[in-house]
């Protein structure tokens, strides 16, 4: 499995001189399982550049898995080049909602006054799916989705191949469900996805003191992310969904904080960085 980070910023794109190293594009991760089929996690602004590359590679079959539909995970979709090619097939997977279908919810962002082109006029063959309740297969990998603690219907994903596993929980506040301390794993949000994975991409938007002012916003502190790592006994932690106000310098400090907190638990945590490629065996 090869992961490429195309965007790891949280909440809103943050281009500028202070975010050069870790990047300002919002959530988008490519999971490379098959040369002909692309598996993409979330459609933040990072997906724009990915789309251009997929077109260059000649990829015509794409699966896009959306954790939820907050704008920072969706706003790149309209500028995803493969959508504008009638030879491309895109399957979009996302969380179900009791109110509107996935297509209806996404169509809101493809309509005036937000966007001049209606979703129905997109040239690519696009199919929308609620994530299944049971695991399913894509491009030689197997996926599972489950709801996690975050405002509105939100899922995380687990991707497995015969040799490696990764969990993607970019927006997650398990502390709001009582945290992980003293809990057995069956009572921990997202644990069915993250338990024992080789690599865990997890929300770590805040320093601990910042989190105290933002409880209930749907995101985790770096300490909560490390506690979660330990609770689910995952391997490498990739800190994700960087706070827009955090400069590269502050993010370096956040990573150091994570490393101190994770001392003794396997490989040290790393900050996700735009352009980073992680290869799992």
């Amino acid at each position: 499995v090869r992961l490429k980070i195309w965007g790891c910023r949280g909440s809103v794109p943050t281009p500028g001189p202070d975010t050069i190293l870790y990047g300002g594009n919002t959530s988008c991760v490519e999971v490379c399982l098959d040369n002909d089929v692309a598996l993409v996690l979330d459609a933040g602004t990072g997906i724009r550049r990915l789309g251009l590359e997929l077109m260059e590679r000649g990829v015509r079959r794409i699966h896009l898995c959306l954790t939820h539909l907050h704008l920072d995970h969706l706003e790149g979709l309209r500028f995803f080049a493969p959508l504008w090619d009638e030879q491309v097939t895109v399957d979009i997977w996302g969380p179900p909602s009791p109110l509107l279908s996935l297509r209806e919810r996404i169509a809101r962002s493809f309509s005036p006054p937000l966007f001049p082109v209606d979703l129905g006029d997109v040239p690519a063959a696009v199919t929308f799916h609620d994530v299944p309740r049971e695991p399913w297969a894509i491009a030689g990998g197997r996926l599972a989705a489950d709801f996690v603690v975050h405002p509105g219907p939100t899922v995380g994903f687990r991707i497995e191949t015969p040799t490696a596993s990764v969990a993607y929980l970019p927006d997650h506040e398990p502390a709001l469900a009582g945290g992980v301390a003293g809990k057995t794993i069956d009572w921990i949000s997202g644990a069915s996805l993250a338990n024992g994975v080789d690599a865990l991409l997890h929300d770590a938007q805040y320093f601990e003191d910042e989190y105290q002012e933002r409880i209930g916003w749907g995101h985790s502190s770096v300490a909560a992310a490390v506690s979660y790592l330990r609770a689910v006994d995952a391997g490498r932690l990739l800190l994700f969904h960087h706070e827009p106000r955090h400069s590269d310098r502050l993010l370096d400090e956040l990573e150091e904080r994570a490393r101190v907190l994770a001392e003794g638990h396997g490989p040290p945590p790393m900050l996700a960085r735009e352009g980073m490629v992680v290869e799992l065996p």
Binding site: P162, T163, G235, P267, M270, M276
Partner: protein
């Protein structure tokens, strides 16, 4: 120089080259330490004292997780089941427990199979036993242990028990009846139970609130 490359958008993507390049750069930077140095796998190099020191950022383009970092490796020859979904309670139940544990109102939760999975401390006061002492068990069995009965001292059949109604008929129900608590005290309690739906077609369990009359 690396910083210049980085800011120009040049990305180092070959791990072997990056390692050699890093060594050269560190030597140029006049690294103070001597003796063995190594990479901890996270873009930090360890000096002779074991302290971690950050590598030039441009070298952090490609990471390969060392085999030693892989936990719970899967057997490639036999593709095991992906995720045992039942190992984790449904998120609605996790959130319901968190709500219940913060309530002063006696509250219990059962899953969609009718297993009692939690009741709070306020409920423990009524039934005379904490959930930690009790543990998970079939809700019917737990309820029966309190000899639920009508005010006329007739046994309250399961089909009149609010929690059972919520489980079977997936609707709210209310009843008042008498029990004998685990501490041997006879009490009159009122119980209101209601189903928990994660989605219109996804029933995940029930919640019941009760109090002494």
């Amino acid at each position: 120089m690396l910083d210049v490359l980085q800011r120009a958008g040049v990305e180092v993507v070959h791990a072997d080259d990056a390692e050699a390049f890093a060594d050269e750069e560190i030597a140029k930077m006049g690294a103070e330490e001597s003796g063995p140095a190594g990479d901890d796998g996270g873009g930090h190099r360890r000096d002779a004292t074991g302290r971690s020191r950050r590598e030039p950022q441009a070298l952090r383009g490609l990471y390969r997780l060392p085999a030693s970092s892989i936990k719970g490796r899967l057997d490639a020859t036999a593709y095991p089941p992906l995720v045992e979904k039942r190992r984790q309670k449904h998120l609605v139940l996790i959130l319901a427990r968190e709500l219940a544990s913060n309530l002063a109102t006696p509250t219990l939760i059962a899953d969609d199979e009718g297993t009692l999975i939690f009741y709070n401390d306020a409920a423990a006061d009524v039934v005379g036993r904490t959930f930690a002492e009790n543990g998970e068990m079939p809700l019917d069995e737990w309820t029966a242990s309190f000899s639920p009965r009508t005010r006329d001292a007739e046994e309250l059949p399961p089909n009149r028990r609010p929690a059972r109604i919520a489980l079977d008929q997936r609707r709210a129900a209310h009843e008042q009846f008498r029990i004998t608590s685990a501490d041997g005290v006879d009490r009159t309690v009122a119980v209101t139970a209601f189903p928990l739906f994660a989605h219109v077609d996804e029933f995940v369990g029930i919640m019941a609130i009760f109090w002494r009359e």
